[in-house]
């Protein structure tokens, strides 16, 4: 790995008690370039702009995918990553579906650890705080012909994230717009999937909803995802979440919730969730919770949902009663080394990683 440390650290401009997510990027970033059929040597360098022309193929044909990860500091200032291998495997699934080259493990994992080590001062401590990490791959060849790029960049950038807390939101069950086609790229963390979701979300916002529960594009009868998260429904004391598919992202937080719920003895069913079954459970009073899960906020609980012009309220549960909130706490405790980790998910970032890369 080529190491080029910054000579102008911006850490003094960062107040860990007073910042917003995305206001600050850490001092460094990892980049690695692909050309002539091979990845070059990874480079740790100061975070900042690089030269790309408007004919860059990522801007034109959208070959770009990413991961979302977090690093956490425990009460002893030790730094931990979480289920790194899941994100490494998924970025390569996304890359494959977008006809992009897969990134080698030593570049992804080695780059991640080196960046976390050198920028460890940027990882905030305290309730719910973390460093959000963004690995991504994007096309970099200049060209106007709609074809696969011959050049790519892998990069890792990072920014301090604020508290996990997010107030319960109201969501709209989509009966027109959709985020994924059968035989499409919905399972990939493809850049274009996000752009496609913004306009329908704005329309839902205009109707007073904060997010959309995406349904299948053919019938709109089955739940797929919620916002940019996987979705869970609790009916009685059973948790349901749709099986992953070519249309549904294989979320790391989703998988962790399923595992934690089973570990706690909760009945978890990974099966299609029909809108009509949710409405029936609403009617008979057995619908207890609906929530979304993802790396950024871990869990967003829903307070109400709209479907075809009608609004439905969800019960207000205490943190003890709520499966969503108790599972979230269990997960965060593992992530931040506040609890045992029976699953081997937590990974400590050793100091002075750079001396060994």
């Amino acid at each position: 790995m080529i190491i080029q440390k910054t000579e102008n650290s911006r850490i003094s401009s960062f107040d860990p008690e007073n910042y917003s997510f995305g206001d600050h990027f850490t001092d460094h970033m990892i980049i690695c370039e692909y050309e002539n059929g091979a990845w070059g040597e990874a480079k740790l360098m100061p975070y900042g702009p690089l030269p790309f022309s408007p004919s860059n193929m990522a801007f034109n044909y959208g070959q770009a995918c990413f991961e979302g990860m977090k690093a956490y500091k425990d009460s002893s200032d030790e730094v931990y990553l979480f289920r790194v291998n899941k994100n490494f495997e998924r970025i390569n699934k996304s890359a494959k579906r977008l006809a992009m080259p897969e990134i080698p493990e030593e570049v992804f994992v080695g780059g991640l650890k080196a960046l976390m080590d050198i920028d460890r001062a940027w990882i905030p401590t305290g309730e719910g705080k973390s460093l959000y990490i963004r690995p991504l791959i994007f096309a970099t060849e200049e060209g106007l012909k709609a074809r696969v790029s011959n050049k790519y960049m892998f990069a890792i950038v990072a920014a301090p994230a604020t508290s996990y807390y997010s107030a319960p939101v109201s969501v709209k069950i989509s009966d027109y717009y959709s985020r994924a086609a059968s035989g499409g790229v919905g399972f990939a963390k493809a850049a274009g999937n996000y752009a496609a979701s913004f306009y329908p979300t704005q329309l839902a916002n205009d109707e007073g909803y904060e997010q959309i529960i995406w349904t299948d594009d053919s019938t709109h009868e089955y739940f797929e995802e919620s916002g940019t998260m996987n979705v869970f429904v609790r009916i009685g004391n059973t948790i349901y979440t749709p099986p992953t598919s070519e249309k549904i992202l294989d979320g790391v937080t989703r998988d962790s919730f399923i595992t934690l719920a089973k570990h706690k003895g909760i009945d978890v069913r990974v099966e299609p969730i029909a809108v009509k079954d949710v409405l029936a459970a609403q009617k008979d009073g057995s619908l207890k919770e609906i929530w979304g899960v993802g790396t950024a906020v871990v869990t967003t609980a829903f307070k109400s949902y709209g479907y075809q012009g009608e609004n439905f309220e969800l019960p207000v549960l205490s943190e003890e009663e709520s499966f969503a909130l108790s599972l979230k706490k269990a997960l965060v405790d593992i992530q931040t080394n506040a609890a045992e980790d029976p699953f081997g998910w937590r990974e400590k970032v050793e100091k002075d990683v750079l001396q060994t890369v």
Copy 2:
């Protein structure tokens, strides 16, 4: 408009008798930046890279859309554009669906004419040659939160294109992969639509097909597009093309073909094309032609197609017999000022546009 002419023209490195499409970009480009809710002043400047960090939201969330256009020189070296308003309207339809700001007409059309005027020496002459023009809009804010960008760039770049000729190709009728969801962004020239098509196309290439005829994602029973083009089918002496929809691009070449065919007295039906009807016409001998149309190649004729493991040959027609080839010739003659333009499609680029902008 801010004008910054190059001091290092690269035109002497461009041999108009010997080049490949995309090898060369013209000396200049147009850029215009959007922030604080408004587009700034357009700028004509030397073509080249600009600074963007890997946290650029276009790389991460794919807010990016484009247009494809061409400029042509006639035998007197006058320069013409084609149906500029159609592309202007469409880029804004794409922008709206991707929750991006619409570009003002004076920036799009004014920028286009200024660029064509200053770089007119780059427009090659001769059979089928043209200058390919790429207007695009993409997000430019740096951020790691999946939301709409607050900053954008509009740009126009251009590259000399080679002859229109493309040999007839074999295509695969998709029975698994798809390019567009109902309620999705298929009608937009969204960057992500192209990235999503590359991997299925590679798989089809591996089976010996050059392109895919995309079918609806729910049933795969109806034609949608072919490769990156709109698709036409001729049965007997009637031409069919699917109606535009939220899933099908409203192609300028498609619209021009429909208009030209009607003008020639050909029976044109804009209606869904069922795979089973194509197969039935193949069986009874009435299937004459299938072809794709788009700005880049105008027309690609198909020589054969595959469906569920079976291959079907299409008749070999002369240029006189072929509707695809005679309509193509009629269109190119209008574009290059080799024929009358009864539709008012052609637009001459006046000299010294820059003095008036």
